[in-house]
Symmetry: C2
């Protein structure tokens, strides 16, 4: 396909090779051996095209954004500039958490194309691992580390306001992706909308109840305002278990095309909320060989540890950098250990409630909104699936509305454990 | 003075005339009669130079920003790009509230120069009117109108998120002025700082108490985060009674050089807080001929009416535009009158508490920070001044810490009225 005036052309498995041949950095990455390259489009993502390129002396992944949403088609246009923000975020988050973010080898803005490290097998998407019932003993450790670092170092606890506003302005450009989130997470599930779906007829009344729950709608409006107005840190913006690739000892966060300066709780909530979705889906995956009871407990333990470790690491970073450039709490004012403690306690409590709110909103939208999760979708028996989904939905509604009464993650976990089997 | 490489040169009363001669729009504004122009630098402001230009057939005001803070001098550099943001804000606010914002005739970015409508006598700075004990019967009406319109129409209640983020990004450039606010309002009063001053020795202990009040510091940190992170609307950023010019029937808001997308409560609080400062200063202006008791009540009534009218008008605008482009509360979701009411109630309660918090912070900084107000400074007797300032300071500290227990402006007014004379 010929290049358009803006220098963009859509690649395919064949033209990816030509692109690599024309791009010296990519040659080098492949050890300058381009004969016998194997290119495979994996494309299990929703929005973009991803090519895995393996040669005799090296490998890489090429991701290209097209000017529409892949899983819907050209009828839902979406700026391909999202690749620019994804590349920026990969680099910035990679700078702070290099162990958990794939390296960017090359970015081509006109082509909306990112070349990055290939996360080789046995890396799989975490969501698939959770469905398969695989335990990842380091997951809480790694994800808390990734979140603590990427969020702390891009917040006003580390940034001067000068650096912060500059970065905020740059990411304001990613507005189309923010709008997509606003629509599919904070709006569509709460109204009749073209692309909404749910396990029908089982959840017809449940979906309707969401649309008629005034308290829920008031709470969701507050979260949405927060999402639209509050530039707290550079967030990933789409940190569900489908944006994480794992092995037993590696955890890698991909796909930050929704990145912008927003509320930290949105990322933390996305991850925790998706773990909780995985928890509720387990009953649908239980079989005679494996009742999944132990695995359910592992998921809850991981949820709990992720928050607790996150909190600990985030506060350590804060303590470590309290004499730095961060301008939120100048040490000249917050100069006593007990005051520092009080301030941190208040900050973390706010963040915790934000995370619970956003996490709950992200659970709800996966059950009655446009984009569902494989955790539930892979439960073939619709009535069983609806049973799992309803329990998740009911819990999420409660959590969204009553999040402020939870003082610790342990209380949240207990609330989950106390839900009767019904 | 010769122009610098960037096209900037500092004007004076003489070269202002040459500038006008070289600028056709300004000729025209002066009815093309440039003979006998009278130019006078008024310069009672803190930061910039303001020239009043009156000719036989027209008049105008020229405001020029220099690359430092006027009242301090070249030792405190400050970007002259602030004039760009002032001009942008005058135009945007003027678009929504033309009755209360002077028209911009001309803007010259390299020269950091704004030409605008001359607010002719008997217009005076409101603060001077309040010191003189003059009642402005339309003040609450006008200021509530200005604030309701400028804030509503630049918020997500009216903007699409696309427009909003675009505007937010633009005003992120005004970061140096935001930093000045952060420093002098949210930081310096709460620590030992070079430029802090207060009526010494009377208030030495009071200033120290502010620096040692942990609860106050925790609350102020929350306001500061809000100020730095929350892009709620295009705020004026410096809306004290020295930024308002008045006559009996005209109210004009000038000097929005601190404008950016920030929390609405910052503007509302600035205005209300400065009215309350004026209230506490009255005892220092009382004399045998006028005990100022009636005037104090007028100030309180105006404070009360301003908030109540603001609330009413803001909600009317919301109702009127609920089917528009605003994306915070889509009518497809917030579709029932009772839900709309609940949402508005929640929104206004949050805004009220923000306004009280910011207003209180702005009071405190005028008593123990770098920039004081003429309301108090004009009380020659230091012990009398300290008495007035201490009462204002104590009230402000209480208000900042306990703002969430006030449910209406009437309760705030009652609290003021109940302060004993001591
Ligand atoms: N760096 C990588 N290494 C290996 N596989 C990857 C890599 N990046 C993406 N993939 C695969 O491609 C899929 C889609 O990638 P993703 O970045 O999530 O795209 P989308 O934005 O379309 O969701 C992922 O689910 C994963 O299977
Ligand atoms: N448009 C105007 N018409 C009449 N007087 C004005 C006008 N603009 C400013 N002034 C006078 O100049 C003074 C300083 O203007 P201001 O915009 O507040 O400058 P600064 O940014 O230095 O505080 C005001 O207090 C007022 O007396
Ligand atoms: Mg993806
Ligand atoms: Mg890495
Ligand atoms: Mg994606
Ligand atoms: Mg001024
Ligand atoms: Mg000014």
């Amino acid at each position: 396909m010929a290049a358009a005036a803006d220098g963009f052309r859509t690649l395919d498995e064949k033209s990816v090779v030509d692109y690599i041949k024309a791009t010296p950095t990519l040659h080098a990455q492949l050890g300058n051996q381009l004969d016998g390259l194997v290119v495979k489009e994996v494309g299990d993502g929703n929005l973009n095209f991803v090519y895995i390129v393996v040669g005799p002396a090296g490998s890489l992944v090429i991701k290209q954004a097209l000017p529409y949403i892949r899983c819907i088609g050209e009828s839902w246009p979406m700026t391909k500039e999202r690749a620019y923000f994804e590349a920026l975020a990969l680099k910035e988050h990679g700078r702070w958490s290099p162990d958990h973010v794939p390296e960017v080898y090359h970015f081509d803005r006109p082509m909306s194309l990112i070349a990055m490290r290939y996360l080789k097998p046995p890396h799989i998407i975490l969501r698939k691992g959770l469905i398969a019932g695989i335990e990842y003993p380091l997951l809480a450790q790694h994800m808390s580390d990734y979140m603590a670092k990427t969020l702390f170092f891009t917040s006003l606890l580390y940034h001067s306001t000068l650096d912060h506003r500059h970065a905020v302005a740059e990411f304001c450009g990613n507005v189309e992706l923010c709008r997509l989130t606003e629509q599919v997470i904070f709006s569509d599930p709460y109204r009749v909308a073209q692309y909404n779906r749910w396990t029908s007829p089982y959840l017809d009344h449940d979906a309707e109840a969401v649309r008629e729950d005034d308290t829920l709608k008031i709470e969701v409006a507050e979260l949405k305002s927060n999402f639209c107005e509050r530039a707290q840190a550079l967030i990933h913006g789409d940190l569900h278990t489908g944006s994480i690739m794992v092995t037993g000892d590696s955890t890698q966060v991909i796909d930050p095309e929704f990145a912008f300066y927003g509320p930290m709780g949105f990322d933390i909530g996305a991850f925790l909320g998706n773990l909780i979705l995985a928890f509720f889906a387990q009953d649908g995956h239980a079989d005679k060989g494996n009742d999944r009871q132990a695995y359910k407990q592992w998921i809850l333990k991981t949820t709990e540890e992720t928050w607790n470790l996150f909190q600990k690491k985030f506060i350590s970073l804060w303590d470590e950098h309290k004499d730095g450039n961060g301008e939120a709490y100048p040490v000249s004012i917050y100069n006593k250990p007990e005051l520092q403690l009080l301030v941190q306690k208040r900050y973390m409590a706010g963040l915790f409630h934000d995370a619970l709110g956003f996490g709950a909103a992200k659970m709800i939208r996966r059950i009655v909104g446009v984009a569902h999760v494989e955790d539930f979708e892979s439960i073939a028996d619709a009535s069983k699936r609806a049973y799992c989904e309803r329990r998740a939905l009911d819990f999420a509604k409660m959590l969204l509305k009553e999040r402020r009464r939870f003082q610790s993650i342990n209380q949240v976990i207990s609330a989950i454990q106390e839900i009767p089997a019904c």
